[in-house]
Each structure stands twice: as C-alpha cells, then as structure tokens.
C-alpha cells in the first residue's frame, strides 16, 4: 500500500507537534537516533528520485527505469522495517500492528512481486508506484525529521496531508497493475507454490494468494484513504485556528 496511508495512523500521535496531549516523548538519545534515521531515509529516497530523473534524461523515455534505481529502492524500502522496531520499543508512538502491516505490504511488493517476477520489472506500472512511493516517502521522512526538531514548516505539513490525495491512488494503481501483470508468470513457473502430496501435508498456491491480496485492497484502500482525508481536515483546520489566534 502506498505510504501516504501509512502516515495516517501516526499523524495524530505526537509528531504533529500541535496536539494538546501531553505524552512522554522519546528520550534525548532516542530522539537523536530517530532524527538520524529519518534524515538518512529522506536522503535515500532523494537518491532514488534523482536516479529516476537522471535515468529518464539519459534514456529519453520513461520505460524500464526500474533497473536504474533497483538497488537503492530495495535497500531503503527494506530499511523501513526498522520502523516496526521503533514502535515495538515505544520510541515512536504508533501501533506496532498497523505499522507492521503497512511496512510489510511495501516490502512484499518490492521483494515478493517486483524482485521475484523478473518479467514485470519492465512494466510501466512499476514506475507508477515507485514514483508515488518516492514522493510520499521524501515528504513523510522530512515531516518526521522536522517534527522531531520541533520546527515543522507549514509547507511540509501541507504537502504531507494534501499530496496523498493524488499519490495514494496512483501508488495503489501501480501496485495492483504490477501484481496483475505478474500473475501469468507465477502460474507458469509455479513460483513459491507447493502442492500435495508432500511430507509436510501442506499446500500453497501463490497465484491464488496474489489474487486474494488484490481483492484485499478493496476493503482496505478506502478505509485508509478516508482516514487520511479525515486527518487532513483535522490537522490543517487546527493549524488555521492556531494561526488565527496568534
């Protein structure tokens, strides 16, 4: 799922800096670490963005740009797994389950679909979600960096809570189209599938699993999307009031 949604649940949890709740935030060491983490991630996704632009300029077309940013994409998207640890340790006030769900879905798409099914790597749908993820993540990580430093420019906050309106559907479309494109190759090669009889008395059909994943987007995407819209109204109107009262 596009990370535009992944910020949703954390948006109202202490990072906004404008929330009236008095929560015991992370200690100084944890804050320092988190700032470094978020800066590194922002830089990483900027590298991916720059890589995309350079490859586009060099090639002259927007097809098959995946190959030029494959390694940094894998590295930094997988690095997001640390965020689950952050929640588990309590230095980030988000739900472990929600964060895990969101990060795992990204990692799943990166490794279990795009990496594993080589034939889809040249699809345009891959570019669609990579661009969506890149822009979203750059904004999201810089948002967290500034929030931790208690110096959040309104522009970043606005960007985070507005651009998702376009980026989230864009990312989801890219993801779904990529999974759909991968289906025939999975069926053909029997990727990650095991059939009876075998000594574990277990069977798994990756093809069916991918179809179920696609179907699961139907209930999940609208929920996350409307949650973000709701957050947007809350956070941006709150800032309006705050400004008026100054």
């Amino acid at each position: 799922m596009a990370a535009a949604g992944s910020g949703g649940s954390r948006a109202d949890n202490g990072y906004g800096g404008q929330q009236p709740r008095r929560r015991k935030g992370p200690g100084a060491l944890a804050t320092g670490y988190l700032v470094i983490y978020n800066v590194v991630m922002t830089a990483g996704w900027l590298v991916i963005a720059v890589g995309l632009v350079r490859a586009y300029l060099a090639k002259g077309s927007y097809h098959s740009l995946y190959y030029s940013i494959e390694k940094p994409l894998k590295f930094f998207q997988t690095g997001a797994l640390l965020e689950i640890l952050h929640c588990a340790l309590g230095i980030v006030p988000s739900s472990v389950v929600l964060t895990a769900f969101q990060v795992m879905s990204r990692v799943f798409l990166t490794w279990a679909v795009t990496h594993s099914v080589k034939e889809v790597q040249s699809e345009d749908s891959v570019l669609l979600f990579v661009v969506a993820w890149t822009i979203t993540e750059i904004i999201r990580y810089s948002f967290y960096t500034f929030s931790l430093l208690n110096h959040l420019p309104y522009l970043i906050k606005w960007a985070r809570y507005t651009l998702f309106i376009v980026l989230y559907p864009m990312g989801v479309s890219g993801e779904l189209l990529t999974i759909y494109a991968a289906l025939p190759f999975v069926r053909q090669s029997g990727l990650y599938s095991i059939s009876l009889p075998n000594k574990y008395n277990f069977s798994f059909d990756y093809y069916t699993f991918l179809i179920l994943v696609m179907i699961s987007y139907i209930p999940i995407f609208p929920q996350l999307y409307f949650h973000m819209l709701h957050q947007r109204r809350k956070v941006l109107s709150h800032t309006e009031e705050h400004k008026k009262s100054e």
Binding site: L196, P197, N198, K199, Y200, N201, F202, S203
Partner: protein
C-alpha cells in the same frame, strides 16, 4: 433510592428498568470515571461513598454469555472436522466423495480431535465457572473464525486423499505406533487441573480464591511446577497431535495456541503472585522452569 445493603447488581437492575436498552451485563459502573469497574457483589455500604453516591456508567456494548460463545466455538471444529473426515461433496474432487482414507493414523486423528472437542464441550457445560457471565459480542466472531478456520485448514490436509502419513516417508520422525501412543496418552490427559483450578472458588459458591495444590491424582502433580497445568497439558496434546499427523497447519495451530496460552498463563501467574503472599516460588506460568 436504594438501601445501604444493596449491592451493585441491584443498582444495575434498577438502572436497566429505567433504561431498558442497557441490560445489567452491559453496564459498567464505577466510582471514578477512570477507575475500575465495580463488581456486582459489592455492597453499597462497603464502598467509600456518603449518603449519596455518584456512579459513572459506561456501556460495554452488546454482550453475549461465555457459555454460548464456548459452545459455539467448540461445536464448530467438531462438526467441521467430521465433514472433512467423511469427505462430504465439494470439499475434495467428486471421485473422492464419501470415500474413506486407507491410513490408520487418519482414523485415529479423527478420534483424537473429536474426543478433544467433545471433552471441551462437556467441560464448558459442567465444569467451568466463570468470573464474568458475559463477554463482548464481537468476541464470538473473532473466536469462531479462529477455531473454525484452523479446524477446517487442518482437517482438509489430514483427510486429503493425497495425505502422507508419518512413517511412509523415510525422513519423517518416529514410526507410527510410537507417535500414536504418545498422542493418545497426552490427548487423553485428564483435565483434573480444571477441577482444581476452577474450584478456586470454595464449595459454598462464594468467590473467594485459594491457591491450587497437587492432590493424590497424578495429573495434578504438575501443579508443583506450573501455575496453569491445564494450558501445559493442552499444548502438550496439540504437540502430540502434530507429531502424530505430521501436518504443517497443525504445527502452526499448536504454535499460535501456545503463544496465546503462554500470555494468559503469565497473566494468571502474575495475578496469583499479587494475590497470595505465600505463593510457591518454584512454579512458572506454563512451561516448567522456562516460561
């Protein structure tokens, strides 16, 4: 307007008369909005209130009785497993409908599984005593999905025409006779700990609690080492079932069950330690000496 000797339960009854949509089981009354719920048997006189008391009400949501939930969630696996065992149509290919497996272990597995759930149903009806009468309605859907889902998943593979019994593949563990003996023994574990555990409440029906101790019954000797031997035996029997059937979904079910029961056991252990000063120090929550 109530007597000083009135209990919280009486108040709840009166409240539900004036607000019929909130039956007593759904009410949570407390003296402080952020405090703990008052128990039904608390007497008004013993609470720190004057001549007028302010009680805060919270709606716990639709409730359903524990007994109903337990009966439903245990009856499901019993029936579902049998559907797969008898290979009812639409589960496997049409040429397998109503056929029987040729492996002895499959029949034995059905007996063990069915016996297990029949035992659980009987316990729910005749042995268990619960501290609360009800639980939130949502739980029945959650619990039934878990039990029924796993039962279907396990039963599908064990009763599948292409099932590979242990002993036929040279890489599997132990020959069939030994695993069968192990499983049957452990599955038939007496739930005597339950008889001790739940009659934590004295026979007079009051809800006073006492530490459970081993008796002459050998199955209760595990109380020497463990706070919740019923969970220990439960995990043991599912591990036995896993070894007997050598089926991955069964192993996963055992693992998930173990994690959940370990969490419950640790909670219970901690509440025992809080409640009883002289709690035996040797005991661990669920796995002797380890967990």
């Amino acid at each position: 307007q109530v007597e000083p000797q009135a209990t919280v339960a009486d108040i709840k009854n009166l409240f539900s008369k004036s607000h019929p949509q909130w039956y007593p089981a759904r009410q949570s009354l407390r003296l402080d909005p952020k405090g703990r719920s008052l128990k039904d048997e608390d007497v008004l006189q013993s609470l720190p209130v004057g001549t007028t008391a302010t009680l805060y009400f919270r709606d716990l949501g639709a409730q359903i009785s524990w007994v109903t939930v337990f009966l439903t969630e245990y009856a499901g696996p019993l029936l579902i497993y049998l559907l797969f065992y008898f290979r009812v149509p639409f589960l496997y290919g049409p040429r397998y409908d109503f056929t029987a497996s040729r492996h002895r272990v499959v029949h034995l597995a059905c007996c063990c599984h069915s016996f297990h759930y029949v035992k659980r149903l009987l316990e729910t009806l005749f042995v268990h005593r619960f501290s609360h009468g009800t639980m939130p309605l949502r739980n029945i859907f959650k619990n039934c999905t878990y039990y029924w889902g796993f039962a279907a998943w396990m039963a599908y593979y064990i009763n599948h025409p292409l099932y590979t019994p242990p002993g036929e593949c040279h890489l599997s563990l132990s020959p069939v006779p030994v695993t069968v003996i192990v499983t049957v023994t452990v599955t038939c574990h007496c739930h005597c700990p339950h008889y001790i555990n739940h009659p934590l409440y004295t026979p007079t029906g009051s809800k006073a609690r006492k530490i459970p101790y081993p008796t002459r019954n050998p199955f209760t000797w595990l109380f020497l080492l463990v706070s919740c031997p019923n969970y220990t035996y439960e995990v043991g029997s599912w591990i036995g079932f896993t070894i007997m059937t050598q089926c991955l979904p069964v192993a996963l079910f055992s693992l998930v069950g173990f994690v959940q029961m370990a969490i419950w056991a640790q909670g219970k252990h901690r509440s025992y330690l809080r409640e009883f000063r002289d709690y035996p120090p040797l005991r661990s929550p669920i796995v002797p000496f380890l967990l």
